[in-house]
C-alpha cells in the first residue's frame, strides 16, 4: 500500500499545512506554507515529476512565499486584535470537516482507483523532451494564452500599485 517514507512526507506536509492555516502570526504561517510546499515537491519527486518539483520550489518557494513575506513586511499588521469567531463560520468549518471525512472514508472503503503500479518513469532528458513536445504541439494555444494572461497580470499589478493622486 504505502511505505514509511511516504507516511513521513505526508504527515509532514499535512502538519505544515495546518500550521500555515492556524498560526496566529502571519510570518509563521508563511514559513509553514514554505515547508508544506517543500513536502509537496518531495511527493512530486516520488511521482517522477522532477521538473514539476523543481518548478514548484522555484515558483512557490522562490517567488510566491517571498512575495508574501515582502507584503507582510510592507503592511505591518502586528497587534491586530483577534475578534471572536462567528458561529456560522465555525458551523461551516464543521460541516466541511464532516464532508471531507465522509469522502475519505468512502474513498478508502469503496474507491475503485486500483490502477496497476506505474511503469518506471522516463529518464530525465526524455521526459523533458516529452514536456517540450506537448507544450509546443498539442498545447501551443494554451501556452500563448498563458503568456497573454501573464502580460495582463503584469499590467494590472503596475496599474494597481501606482500611487493614488
Amino acid at each position: 500500500m504505502f511505505n514509511a517514507l511516504f507516511v513521513f512526507i505526508a504527515v509532514f506536509t499535512v502538519v505544515c499545512a495546518l500550521g500555515a492555516m492556524l498560526s496566529r502570526n502571519t510570518v509563521d504561517a508563511a514559513m509553514c506554507l514554505l515547508l508544506c510546499l517543500a513536502g509537496v515537491a518531495g511527493l512530486f519527486v516520488a511521482l517522477h515529476a522532477f521538473l514539476l518539483a523543481f518548478l514548484l520550489l522555484l515558483v512557490y518557494a522562490g517567488a510566491v512565499v517571498t512575495l508574501f513575506l515582502f507584503i507582510i513586511m510592507l503592511i505591518d499588521v502586528r497587534g491586530a486584535a483577534v475578534p471572536p469567531r462567528r458561529r456560522i463560520a465555525t458551523a461551516a468549518g464543521a460541516a466541511a470537516l464532516v464532508l471531507v471525512v465522509a469522502g475519505l472514508a468512502s474513498l478508502a472503503t469503496r474507491g475503485r482507483l486500483s490502477l496497476p503500479p506505474p511503469p518506471p518513469g522516463l529518464p530525465v532528458g526524455e521526459s523533458l523532451k516529452a514536456y517540450a513536445e506537448l507544450l509546443f504541439t498539442t498545447y501551443l494555444l494554451p501556452v500563448q494564452l498563458i503568456g497573454f494572461l501573464l502580460l495582463i497580470a503584469m499590467l494590472g499589478v503596475i496599474a494597481l500599485s501606482r500611487k493614488a493622486p
Binding site: 492555516m21 516520488a46 515529476a49 515558483v59 510592507l74 471531507v100 506537448l134 494554451p142
Partner: protein, 102 residues
C-alpha cells in the same frame, strides 16, 4: 524509494485541499486567506500529477504547468489588491471591509 497507491495520493490531496478550504473559511486575515487559496491549488496539482503518473501520460503534468503560471499571476494581482486596500482602508481584516453591505 517511495511507493504508495493512487488512493493514498488522492486522499492526501483531499486533506490538503480541505485544510486550505478551512483556512479560507475560518481566517479573517486576507493574507492567510490567500495562503489557503494557494494550498488548495497545490492540492489540486498533486492529484493531477498522481493521476498522470498512474495513467502513464504527460497531459496532467503539462496542465500543472498552466496551474503554476495562473497561480503566480493570481498571487501577484491579489497581493497588489491587498496592498492597495491597506493603503486606502488601513486594514486587511475581511470583517472590517464591509462598505458594500448597507
Amino acid at each position: 524509494m517511495i511507493t504508495a497507491s493512487l488512493n493514498a495520493y488522492i486522499g492526501l490531496s483531499a486533506i490538503l485541499f480541505a485544510i486550505g478550504f478551512l483556512g479560507v473559511l475560518l481566517r479573517r486575515n486576507a493574507l492567510v486567506i490567500f495562503m489557503g487559496l494557494e494550498l488548495m491549488l497545490v492540492a489540486a496539482t498533486l492529484a493531477l500529477v498522481a493521476f498522470s503518473r498512474f495513467n502513464a501520460t504527460m497531459d496532467g503534468d503539462v496542465f500543472v504547468f498552466f496551474i503554476l503560471t495562473v497561480a503566480a499571476a493570481e498571487v501577484a494581482v491579489g497581493l497588489a489588491i491587498v496592498v492597495a486596500l491597506f493603503r486606502r482602508r488601513g486594514t486587511i481584516q475581511v470583517d472590517e471591509l464591509d462598505s458594500l453591505k448597507n
